[in-house]
Symmetry: C2
Subunit: 347 residues, 2 copies
């Protein structure tokens, strides 16, 4: 066993605090990663507060992990010691169902293994995430990291990056298209970067005019303030090919459905805890689509990282010491971060 | 002016009764159709009862019209006197917007002209529908009718047929696919016929076991009773490529979303007057789509009729005299028709 340490939640209401625990020795297909950086995802907060109802403690959050390989198992072929490596939301799956075989491990029919707050396939070993010094993972669920990027800006690509890249690719966003991004946070700012990079014309929908300068800097052509729905409808109704909605807080989806053109598509990547109402006429008139998307499989996550390396895309981040994690949670809840906290696990 | 007669509603609560009115003389691009048959669509009842809030009276309903051409304008090229002709839900549109130019007249950006309870493009002339002896319509909005079909079974194709044909075609339903049809009424029974004809394996979801024999006769492989959601989920969760939901009455869409496979699509063609709740997790987990579809444009309606001629597909109907229209409305409201009333306008 490998002794390590990190930050854990010990119950659903208290702060995170230092925690000592062990990782398994690498098995033949495993790699040991010394973690350099780990992003702070809003879902870490949901999990720690047990807002999804399945929390187990102590819980070491973190699924936006990058670091260096320091040890490899005897059968490892994808990595050598010294390589950069990343881990996202998943560390295993059944590997045999139709979805796994097609590379959609996030939809494993037998249940994928989350990077933390989950059980390994043995059914008993708990998983601990990236708010820690090291992690041991099968090379099949580890990602190759482009060497030309600023490593700390890569960490959040493992969740915020793939969550937005995947639907934009799946629904074929590209040149000549008008794309809306709802919400400019960790996910939204990456959606703007990708959609712009794919050649689309991007509008950011936000309640906060203060983000306009950032929206334009990130690649948007315009910012639309949503506080006056009637006015915004007048300008934008029927204009958009594709809208990606990154907002988890309850909000009216019907407004955005009206922004779509005929055959337009709106995709949700946030999970509101109150089920939204849909005016069915907003789908029927114009043959419109409302869909959902969940992170991405391992092959597409690798594709996204390679794309980011080629096009020099990283996240906009604020680097902090792990000891400030509770402050980072507070500020994330207040949307007071541009646009992702990243823990400096070497500090 | 051409004197004619039909059945009209004179207010939103009373019965339909005989009504005398006039049609315009055919203009150069118009044809005069002596109506043989007109289908009774559930939306005729919504309109007459002013349930969509835009009723004007007297109202002559009817948008599933077939008959014979008895007079043509000087520029008409598609029809000669004696031809069969049909009229569906639309009799005109702006013809210049992007949707019209692409053949999607049902989504005309400047407002299409409904076959009844609408205003012609002159902004003043009211339109009257097919519960009448004749109709005058631009040849551009008249359909050619295959001569090999039993004419009275063709009438409901103009609405019930195209409403189900269009989404099944648009989303590429075909061999090897598992398709669900929710509701076995006027729309549902045509969805079963088309999906089966396109090579899919069809399951009918209904509350009523009494329809099982019919479902199988129409082309379904099985009938699933929806009165016990837990049991039906056990059997059908994650199994369907495509579901077409033809039910207008409020019902839980989340049950059906769970029947879809990864990347499965559910399309609504009914318009519930209570906006449904969507559990967003049912879209996100499995990258599923909820969409809507509205009748079809003129080119696709013609394609559908041609397909029906080639494959000998008509609607299952119950032929009645127009004088029994009020009884037909009552029985339609009670789902007591297999599967569409058609008025015999020659009787």
């Amino acid at each position: 066993m490998i002794k390590t340490s990190g930050y854990a939640a010990f119950n659903s209401t208290g702060p995170l605090a230092p925690f000592e625990f062990t990782r398994r020795e690498p098995k033949p297909n495993d790699i040991l990663i010394e973690i350099d950086y780990c992003g702070v995802c809003h879902s870490d907060i949901h999990q720690v507060k047990n807002e999804w109802g399945n929390a187990t403690f102590p819980m070491v959050p973190g699924h936006e992990i990058v670091g260096h390989v320091t040890k490899i198992g005897s059968n490892v072929s994808k990595f050598i010691v010294g390589d950069l490596a990343g881990v996202g939301c998943l560390v295993d799956s059944c590997r045999t169902c139709a979805n796994c075989k097609e590379g959609f491990q996030q939809f494993c029919e037998n249940g994928s293994v989350g990077t933390y707050n989950s059980l390994e396939k043995d059914g008993v070993t708990r998983t601990y995430g990236g708010y820690s010094k090291c992690i041991v993972v099968s090379e099949d669920f580890a990602l190759k990291i482009p060497t030309n990027l600023d490593l700390k800006t890569v960490a959040p690509l493992l969740c915020a990056g793939i969550t937005t890249y995947s639907p934009l690719r799946h629904w074929g966003v590209g040149p000549g298209q008008k794309v809306g991004v709802v919400g400019l946070g960790g996910l939204g700012h990456m959606a703007v970067k990708f959609a712009h990079s794919f050649g689309a014309t991007v509008t950011v929908f936000s309640r906060s005019i203060s983000k306009k300068e950032d929206a334009l800097r990130l690649g948007a052509s315009e910012m639309a303030i949503t506080t006056n729905p009637e006015k915004i409808l007048e300008t934008h109704a029927g204009k958009f090919d594709f809208i990606i909605d990154t907002v988890s807080a309850p909000h009216d989806l019907n407004l955005y459905l009206q922004f779509l053109k005929r055959d337009g598509k709106m995709v949700l990547v946030g999970l509101p805890n109150v089920p939204p109402h849909i005016e069915v006429g907003n789908l029927i008139f114009g043959r419109k689509t409302l869909a959902g998307s969940l992170i991405g499989g391992i092959p597409e996550t690798q594709e996204m990282l390679d794309y980011c390396g080629k096009h020099n895309i990283g996240c906009d981040i604020e680097l902090i010491a792990p000891s400030r994690i509770n402050e980072a949670f507070e500020r994330t809840l207040n949307s007071d971060v541009k646009y992702r906290f990243v823990l400096d696990m070497k500090s």
